[in-house]
């Protein structure tokens, strides 16, 4: 008897309140096995990289030993060694850690800048909106990769911080555009007008009332940006215009393959890093798409 009442109560509560954002995401991941798999692989991979990197002695890793030049994978080196006899495995772990950390930093910087600019321009409209849209239009038509490379070469004190800042200057555009269009439609809703009539301050409306309603879009956008930023950082490091030489990146390892001899005969040097980049990109993007589906009622699986 009591059990029945309980059952009735739970069904009732399920009907009365629609599933919250987090429950929807959980359901989507339970339905989509591949997305679940990608998420688990990513978490294990990233945790593994961070834990393993704590055990690596950087000084010893960067020491050149010509006796081990191009040592193939074996007992001494799990994944072999590069032209300076340095372990590929250790460079791979440290490089992956650097690449991921830098991509996360850029994602947060560009995410916050894009979010604030997008929310404000979309909410107020008018002059501010016009001004920023012109700036964004201008940025959209820039040959971004080339200008970033030029910046990297002309900046006098070049280090990881400046690299992150240079990339951030060019990468907030997409987020700002997306958030602006969403904030524009959200600002025309009744609850915003009601809040305005009640005399709520603009800052409160923007950050306490509109922003929470965009949270799912923000999370999706940042996940996909994270993948994009890993791609851009490794690509620039691959060309030799990314992280400074003292900080290994996944792109630096792939860069060795520019040498045709390494590319054709010394697979162990560049293949693991390329594979890791590929797995990261596929995994993050797939999780991002699953998140996007869960935010869109029409595309949801469960």
């Amino acid at each position: 008897m009591t059990k029945q009442v309980e059952n009735a109560a739970t069904t009732e509560s399920m009907i009365s309140s629609p599933p919250t954002g987090f429950q929807v995401i959980m359901r989507e991941f339970k339905k989509d096995k591949l997305a679940m798999f990608s998420l688990i692989v990513l978490v294990v991979l990233i945790l593994g990289i961070f834990i393993a990197s704590a055990f690596i002695d950087k000084e010893q890793m960067m020491r050149i030993s010509l006796r081990d030049k191009y040592a193939p994978p074996g007992d001494d080196f799990i994944l072999g060694a590069d032209h300076g006899g340095r372990s590929i495995m250790e460079q791979l772990i440290l490089g992956a850690k650097n690449s991921i950390l830098i991509a996360i930093t850029i994602t947060f910087i560009t995410g916050i800048v894009g979010l604030v600019i997008g929310l404000i321009t979309g909410y107020f409209g008018g002059f501010i909106d016009n001004l920023f849209m012109r700036i964004i239009d201008f940025f959209m038509t820039l040959p971004t990769i080339m200008i970033i490379i030029v910046f990297v070469t002309i900046i006098p004190k070049y280090n990881v911080t400046t690299f992150i800042l240079i990339l951030s200057i060019f990468l907030w555009i997409g987020t700002a555009r997306l958030i602006r269009s969403k904030s524009l439609t959200e600002s025309r809703r009744d609850y915003v007008s009601a809040s305005k009539t009640m005399g709520t301050r603009n800052s409160v409306i923007i950050f306490k009332e509109i922003m929470p309603n965009l949270s799912s879009i923000i999370i999706i956008e940042m996940t996909l940006n994270f993948a994009g930023n890993v791609g851009i950082e490794t690509a620039l490091s691959f060309l030799g215009f990314g992280l400074p030489p003292s900080t290994p990146s996944l792109g630096t390892l792939v860069n060795y393959a520019i040498n045709p001899e390494v590319l054709s005969t010394k697979l162990w040097i560049w293949a693991p890093a390329s594979l890791l980049i590929l797995v990261l990109m596929l995994g993050i993007n797939y999780v991002g798409q699953a998140l996007r589906r869960s935010a869109d009622v029409r595309q949801r699986l469960g």
Binding site: D137, F138, M140, T141, L142, P143, T144, I145, M146, I147, I149, V150, F151, T153, I154, A227, G231, T234, A235, F238, L239, F241, V254, A257, I258, P260, L263, S264, L267, W270, S274, I277, L278, M281, L282, N285, Y286, Q289
Partner: protein, 320 residues
């Protein structure tokens, strides 16, 4: 129609102006000047100083900018000190290579993407559709340089089907068929890489467009009139869905330009992207500024082209 085009071109002018200003400022920050390359142990520092004054190195910045931009508008970007030729000649040669590569890439891109998009849309949720969706996801997520390296390794070294660098084999004379084929042969691998990387947008657009069109009233009408399903697809749905694809053309060019830096470096293809990387390494600033300006201009032209095609295809967005 013409109003739209003229308006779009007028919008380009301030954008080009700001871009040129940005590039000019960047060039001012680049260490060295055109005379640094002339310095030898025997040069008299005073002589270099005189040359600098003559060339207007100490003039106010706006005068220097005016001189630079008027020269640039006439295609005059000075000399490249690392190649010892005029920048315009150098870019002309390399630009032609990039142009051929882009043309072949765009052709392949459309040849791959359109059939795949049509199949995926028409046979939604079938096995081929699922494979195509998977393919377009992978080609979207994979970074340009990783795919290019894998292709070069597989088809250039492991199974040497394609040449690994250059534009043409030396034994052929220009003008002969052998020369032409050797050129196309050298273009193929980079072009295929480009094409695969660019297909995602078109496939996904076509697929959703066709799936949406299936539920449209005009399709129901056509079916109820007794038109066979295959005719409905070829005569009604495809025609409507394919038109907007034309407008992607401009953006495809923009994408190609961005990727050319990577593709040309990896495939050792002497085009503008590789020239840019070489110029950066050699600190050849006259070449760098000219290339950034040209790429910026071409990106603008790409988006202009897309807008114009779109306004031809879709009369609703024209300005009257």
């Amino acid at each position: 129609m013409w109003k739209t085009i003229i308006r779009r071109i007028l919008i380009m002018i301030p954008q080009l102006f700001v871009l040129s200003l940005l590039i000019f400022i960047m060039a001012k920050f680049m260490p060295g000047d055109p005379f640094t390359g002339l310095v030898t142990p025997d040069t008299d520092p005073n002589r270099i100083e005189e040359l600098r004054i003559q060339a207007g190195f100490y003039d106010p910045w706006y005068e220097q900018y005016y001189r630079w931009i008027t020269n640039a508008l006439q295609g005059e970007f000075g000399d490249s000190y690392s190649f010892q030729v005029k920048v315009s000649t150098l870019i002309g040669e390399r630009g032609l290579n990039t142009l051929w590569l882009s043309l072949l890439s765009v052709t392949l891109l459309y040849a791959i993407a359109i059939p795949l998009g049509i199949i995926a849309g028409r046979y939604q949720n079938s096995l081929p559709d699922k494979l195509i969706v998977l393919y377009s996801f992978i080609s979207y997520a994979i970074p340009t340089f990783v795919l290019a390296l894998i292709f070069l390794f597989l088809f250039g070294y492991q199974y040497p089907i394609f040449p690994t660098s250059g534009t043409v084999d030396v034994q052929y004379d220009p003008g002969t068929w052998g020369y032409f084929w050797s050129k196309v042969y050298h273009l193929l691998l980079p072009a295929i890489t480009y094409a695969i990387l660019g297909t995602t947008t078109i496939i996904q657009y076509l697929r959703t467009e066709i799936i949406d069109a299936k539920r449209m009233d005009y399709v129901k009408t056509a079916r109820s009139k007794g038109i066979p399903i295959s005719k409905v697809y070829t005569k009604h749905i495809f025609r409507n869905s394919l038109l907007p694809i034309a407008a992607f053309f401009g953006f495809t060019i923009t994408g190609l330009l961005g990727g050319s830096v990577f593709i040309e470096t990896i495939f050792g293809f002497p085009g503008m992207g590789q020239l840019f990387i070489n110029a950066i390494s050699a600190r050849d600033y006259s070449v760098i500024t000219a290339l950034v300006m040209l790429f910026g201009f071409l990106t603008l032209v790409g988006s202009l082209l897309s807008d114009i095609i779109m306004s031809i295809v879709d009369p609703r967005i024209r300005i009257e």
